[in-house]
Symmetry: C2
Subunit: 246 residues, 2 copies
DNA sequence: AACATCTCTTAACCTAGATCATTGTGCAGC
DNA sequence: GCTGCACAATGATCTAGGTTAAGAGATGTT
């Protein structure tokens, strides 16, 4: 149906799931054969809304997205950030009503896959089901780390940790070359991810710069010394459950 | 193998999974037939440790437990609290290395079930697999809400929210009668769940009392007016994904 | 080129919650 | 009926981060 080359929109999804479980040729072919329609969305477009029944299951082909919940007083908390190759609605694949909102962070291309196709796939290919399960569990692990990050780390450690996580995930997906990356978020969005005000995010990121942990050019981020940065950010990648081989 | 009466240690697990998916007689029988050994643990016993490979999958028969992660500076964050009938290691059923610690909160009885038995069960009974998947996704949803709670709500709302969640979950499991419940945590543990100091938990809970949202007797908690409490705590139970019928 | 709109930056000030220290209280063990 | 100990309660003080406000760059638009 679609080619399996790296220009295949589902290429990054394949890569990601291969990192989660050993998949046979047939498994890979079955994933590649998922029917989809490509769609380009502007920044801040919603792909799922709290309270609504999720209808589709989208995979992020390019661009970035995030999950978000609102508090009663209007406060917004970003609970996850997604990079290309990640499925945006595994959480919603089985649940009947969405408990949070999903929005694009940048302009983004989505491969829209019918829920039924996903469900049939995991029913017929146990190895794919296993990989999907692993992916869901790894996401849950990231949520736990975020609870810790927001609950128990001070602002600068917290921000450093987030930057480390983002860098490592990008690199695991082959989207960063080790020499910095583009951070696709405003300082306000960073604040909403960290439980901080945009003002304090600004102060904090400048402090990280001042200490030499981070170099910035516009939204491009570089870590002059990864080891020091990682230690400062209290970051260990175990919770990402990225397989050594991947 | 074991009886299916309410004295069956797995009774509450059955109840929980039935709330997650429609299960046939055979499914229920297969769950009841899971081989297990009962074990009683003292408070603060570990059932899983970060960095170790989870070997068993335990179900909480009686008593309470929690999941916990440590920050580099020694800070502890409780990321989940478990009540009887909940499986403690679904998160670890497939992942190879645990990313957090699981400890009993009170003296607790566990049904220790071999991982292999669980895995065989979900492989052979799709409806059970579905229920387990729902349970995992519902837990992930609770993690997201906790990120919001810790990141964006002030101390009193945050504590009120936690108390509401606990009350609703107990009631859904048939463990509270609507007239209060025993909170099995010290104020220090509450603080570790909320990202607060024990001192401030004390002040905050007294404030909730003063405002008439909460009545306390030792560790017993009662809400004189549930609707007001719920509103004050910015609590909506959607994220718990408890089925209306259950 | 001028304008509008987002972001980012910075400064002054304030408050929620942390920290530190002490006292009170229930309960288990002897 | 003491003694010890974990937990709870409070007061005094401090600080990380919030709030408010105002300018400075960017970037895009007509």
């Amino acid at each position: 149906m679609q080619s399996n080359s790296s220009s295949d929109p589902l290429h990054l999804l394949l890569r990601k799931l291969q990192g989660r479980a050993r998949l046979e040729q047939e498994d890979l072919a079955a994933i590649s054969a998922l029917p989809y329609t490509l769609k380009t969305l502007e920044p801040q477009s919603y792909t799922a809304r709290e309270g609504e029944a999720p209808e589709v299951c989208a995979v992020l082909v390019s661009g970035f997205a995030y999950r978000q919940k609102l508090a009663g007083d209007g406060g917004r908390q970003i609970v996850a950030i997604h990079i290309p190759g990640e499925a945006l609605d595994l959480q919603n694949l089985f649940l009947e009503v969405s408990d949070h909102n999903v929005q694009t962070l940048t302009r983004a291309e989505l491969a829209i896959i019918p829920r039924a196709a996903w469900q049939a796939l995991v029913r017929t290919r146990p190895a794919v089901a296993h990989a999907v399960m692993m992916e869901i569990l790894a996401e849950a692990s990231i949520f736990r780390e975020w609870v810790l990050n927001v609950g128990r780390r001070d602002a600068s450690t917290r921000l450093a940790h987030l930057l480390c996580e983002f860098a490592v995930r990008l690199e695991a997906q082959g989207l960063a070359n080790g020499d910095g990356f583009e951070l696709p978020m405003t300082q306000e969005q960073l604040g909403d991810s960290l439980g901080l005000t945009p003002v304090h995010v600004n102060r904090t990121i400048k402090a990280l710069e001042g200490l030499g942990f981070v170099e910035r050019d516009r939204r491009r981020i570089r870590f002059p010394d990864w080891e020091r940065m990682r230690d400062f950010g209290d970051f260990t990648q175990r919770y990402l459950h990225i397989r050594a081989g991947a």
